[in-house]
């Protein structure tokens, strides 16, 4: 389908690439302002305690200290740090500084000083007296009778059941699941428990604030959600939105952790109070335990099927550990069901229940996959178990049951993000081809169940299939502004937030395609709340689809204005014109350049600025699909696992920029392999993280990655820009179930708790 396009479908160089490869100072942390204060944060040493007293006098007297912030001198507004659409579906359970601390690392105080060393020294001079409370360090402890109440404050709102430590709850039910499970020919049950993990962007959170000449607060910040940052800052600091300007420069990776207002309020308040620029950059350790994490979950899946393999019932029960605060808890756990269950739409009876549970551990947040990762593990392992029970090939079972074009699932409507969803009929999918290609490339037919041996190594293959979405339908909105310049170049102003994905380039390609110019003619600017139009931000796999559609609409509007001017110039009908190679060309071959059109509109006759702003909200959220296959080998003497080969075939509709789209899948798979095999935040009995650095918390290095083949299998999504769907998240869901199933194929053991370390595999072998 993509051969109809000129710029779309090409692997163009990134529009910001030159600056990035030459080391230009383009990140928030590179902004070095005269007189800038440096901010450091005092974290709680206790997992659960009341602050009885804070004495900051010595810290304030230290030479070079400008200001010390605590609950005693900061706004007491309750809010959520979650950067979501307004009103947020997350509870207002957070204060800038609270009188109670709820996890080790929770904010107690902050110091701004002339240097970071002075700020840190001042922290050590703050005397805090705590009344330690009994800590709640697991879901089970939180739900136990007479468990300590973590959110006992009376001014929080939006908490489902604070007395029982339940932050949020969601249910959906279609048909009669219990009845169907009882009468099913075959049924299986599997519980998978995913672990605490952190996004680990190589750039930690960093913000710089200053006052502009008119006294407005300007923030350069590493965020995925500049407009949410502006709104929440105004709410927390009690100042009007108009007093705040948020600029998102280049971002050093986010993966969800920067969909949250975690540090902007501090530099904002320091700068408002002192009048001086200020800077706060989290340390790597703080990034681990004091920013946001993936929500760990315990998810049980029960499946029932007929002898023919057709699913009769799916039951999914999810318990989510949201940590000390409820940011994203309801929406993440909703997605555990809503992004997984529609994949198997043949089941007439489907039930989902999700609960977000408070504990005194680090706070869960948005993390690539957003709950789907935690749900796909048990769902796709259960599908393997069901296939085995039915004596059916695992691939065949999935082929029989997965959703196809023209079909729907009741879950689309029954379960949205923390509320009902929207009905939708699948408009595009190449999942069948993805499955076929993946199976062939991995050698499924030859290798499955064969347990090939070489020395101590035993081989196995496993697979799983997945869907995600493209934005949050009927909620999240994007807008784009396009204007034409004298020389025929085009400004594309977008609130959409390129956090490293390359979305500036992708959106530029969409504009260039519509306007018949090369990408080099498009000057892309993202994001500046004073300059660029609104966009909810980069999350929920929204940018290519939602923001891309906004760009397409704005470009269409500009195209029509160009036609109006050009038709006057050429004395022809606008309908006879088309745009190509930077010209408006009439049917008879006569043409004018876009520069000539712009010059006429700006200086010639009937003057006006050719330009338009357009918005888009999705009615639906077209899912990308992925078929994931891996061959592993396991050293049965030591439990060591090596991935021999990994194949991921993905459907993102039209790949606007194929290399960037592949890169999204490759990166997500790598991140998922890390989650499956090595990544885990570990805590001691006092709730302290034991491994807050890359020496101990391992993420995949270049030599850890197996041969990875990513294949994009085009489909065409009619509602998407040039047929495109979003692709950034889906890959991360695959490695845990794919590898769990491959491990079972090799050694006959079902592992329930990632990461699947050598020692866990060895122990499982000892016990089997």
């Amino acid at each position: 389908m993509t051969d109809q396009f000129n710029v779309v479908g090409q692997s163009e160089r990134r529009v910001d690439g030159y600056a990035l490869v030459t080391g230009k100072p383009v990140y928030a942390g590179d902004l070095d302002l005269p007189g800038m204060l440096h901010v450091a944060v005092l974290g709680s040493p206790h997992p659960h305690a009341r602050i009885v007293d804070i004495d900051t006098s010595e810290a304030e007297e230290l030479d070079g200290v400008a200001i010390v912030l605590t609950h005693q001198n900061t706004p007491a507004t309750r809010y959520t740090t979650a950067g979501q659409g307004f009103p947020e579906p997350s509870p207002y359970d957070t204060r800038m500084f609270d009188t109670k601390v709820r996890f080790v690392g929770d904010r107690v105080a902050a110091v701004a000083a002339e240097t970071i060393d002075i700020a840190r020294e001042a922290l050590s001079l703050i005397k805090v007296s705590y009344e330690p409370l009994h800590p709640v360090l697991s879901i089970d402890e939180a739900l136990a009778d007479r468990a300590p109440i973590i959110h006992d404050e009376d001014d929080a709102s939006g908490i489902w059941d604070a007395e029982h430590n339940i932050a949020g709850a969601v249910e959906a039910n279609v048909g009669d699941v219990d009845g169907a499970l009882q009468t099913a020919y075959a049924s299986v049950e599997f519980t998978g428990e995913t672990q605490y993990a952190q996004h680990a962007p190589i750039e930690p959170h960093v913000s710089v604030a200053y006052l502009d000449d008119n006294g407005r607060l300007v923030l350069y910040t590493s965020t995925q959600v500049p407009f949410h940052v502006r709104r929440i800052m105004a709410q927390v600091l009690g100042i009007p939105v108009r007093q705040i300007r948020v600029i998102k420069p280049r971002i050093g990776g986010g993966f969800g952790v920067k969909q949250e207002v975690l540090i902007e309020d501090l530099v904002g308040l320091v700068t408002l109070r002192t009048g001086r620029p200020s800077r706060l950059e989290l340390t790597r350790a703080e990034e681990f335990y004091a920013s946001r994490t993936r929500h760990p979950m315990r998810v049980t899946v029960r499946l029932g099927a007929g002898a023919d393999g057709m699913l009769q019932a799916i039951d999914m029960q999810a318990l989510e550990n949201t940590g000390a605060y409820g940011a994203h808890n309801l929406t993440v756990v909703s997605n555990t069901g809503s992004k997984t269950l529609p994949l198997y739409n043949k089941a007439p009876n489907v039930r989902f229940s999700g609960r977000g549970i408070y504990t005194n551990l680090p706070v869960g947040g948005a993390y690539r996959g957003y709950g789907a990762t935690q749900g796909y593990f048990p769902l796709e392992v259960a599908m393997d178990m069901l296939a085995e029970q039915l004596g059916m090939d695992a691939v065949e079972l999935r082929r029989k049951n997965h959703i196809r074009v023209g079909e729907t699932s009741p879950i689309f409507e029954e379960l949205g993000e923390g509320r009902k969803g929207v009905p939708q009929t699948l408009g595009s999918s190449s999942l069948d081809q993805c499955i076929n290609i993946g199976a062939e490339r991995i050698g499924w037919a030859d290798k499955r169940g064969k347990r090939h041996r070489e020395g101590p190594w035993v081989h196995g293959v496993g697979m799983s299939i997945h869907m995600q979405g493209s934005g949050i339908p009927a909620i999240d909105m994007a807008a784009a502004t396009i204007k034409l310049n004298d020389d025929g170049s085009i400004n594309l102003l977008i609130g959409a937030t390129d956090l490293g994905t390359g979305s500036d380039t992708v959106l530029g390609q969409i504009a260039a395609e519509v306007l018949g110019v090369g990408l080099s003619e498009v000057i892309v600017l993202s994001s500046d709340t004073d300059v660029t139009p609104f966009d909810t931000g980069a999350y929920a796999s929204s940018t290519t689809y939602v923001s891309g559609n906004a760009v397409r609409r704005a470009a269409e509007a500009v195209k029509n204005q160009i036609f109006d001017v050009a038709s006057a110039m050429l004395k022809t009908d606008p309908e006879s014109l088309h745009l190509e190679d930077g010209r408006a060309i009439a049917d008879d071959g006569r043409s004018v350049t876009l520069s000539e059109v712009a010059l006429r509109s700006l200086y010639g006759a009937d003057q006006f600025q050719i330009g338009a702003t357009a918005s888009f909200v999705g009615d639906v959220s077209p899912p990308p699909f992925l078929a994931s296959f891996a061959e592993v080998r396991i050293d049965v003497e030591t439990g060591k696992l090596e991935i021999v080969n990994y194949v991921a075939a993905a459907d993102c509709g039209t790949a606007i920029n194929p290399r960037l789209a592949e890169g999204q899948v490759e990166g997500a798979i790598a991140n998922g392999i890390g989650y499956a095999l090595m990544e885990e935040m570990r805590f001691d009995k006092y709730g302290r993280m034991r491994n807050p650095d890359f020496g101990r918390y391992k993420i995949p290095a270049s030599t850890d990655m197996p041969p990875l083949e990513v294949i994009l299998v085009d489909s065409y999504e009619e509602t998407g820009p040039m047929g495109a769907k979003s692709i950034a998240e889906i890959g991360i869901n695959a490695p845990i179930p794919t590898l769990a199933n491959a491990i079972y194929d090799a050694i006959g053991v079902r592992l329930t708790h990632p990461p699947f370390t050598s020692e866990k595999i060895w122990r499982a072998l000892q016990n089997s």
Partner: protein, 155 residues
Amino acid sequence: MRFTVNDQVFDIDVDPGASLLDLLRRLGFYGVKNGCDNGDCGACAVLVDARSVTSCDYPARAAEGKRIVTVEGLAPSGSLHPLQAAFLDTGAVQCGFCTPGMLISAVELLEHNPDPSESEVREALRGNLCRCTGYTKPVEAIQLAAARMREVDHD
């Protein structure tokens, strides 16, 4: 203390406790990134006398008399080093935060091994953590740059 950065000579006082990373950023070489401050992630890699090291745990004073090259020094202004071009052509840059360090490691690799195998490239990048790309395209980029550089050498 006297040292050069990207052929520019400096002769300045340097704090005995400073890291080379702090020193370089203070001098305006912002392409040297701080990702972990613990010698683990490689975002701060620079060449010291043609060898790549993590600058965050390298004492600034140990650089006395040495030639330092940062990412800013890889190509004259306005042009690109073949590695930089290949990173753009292959889509090896996503957020770009680890890219300067990767480029530095790759420069050293190609200096010693103009035709590295895929596994040799992966070995060379082991100390450069990247969270965006999964390494597939950076590895491809380095091999592409090596091929282009060999071609130029032959001409």
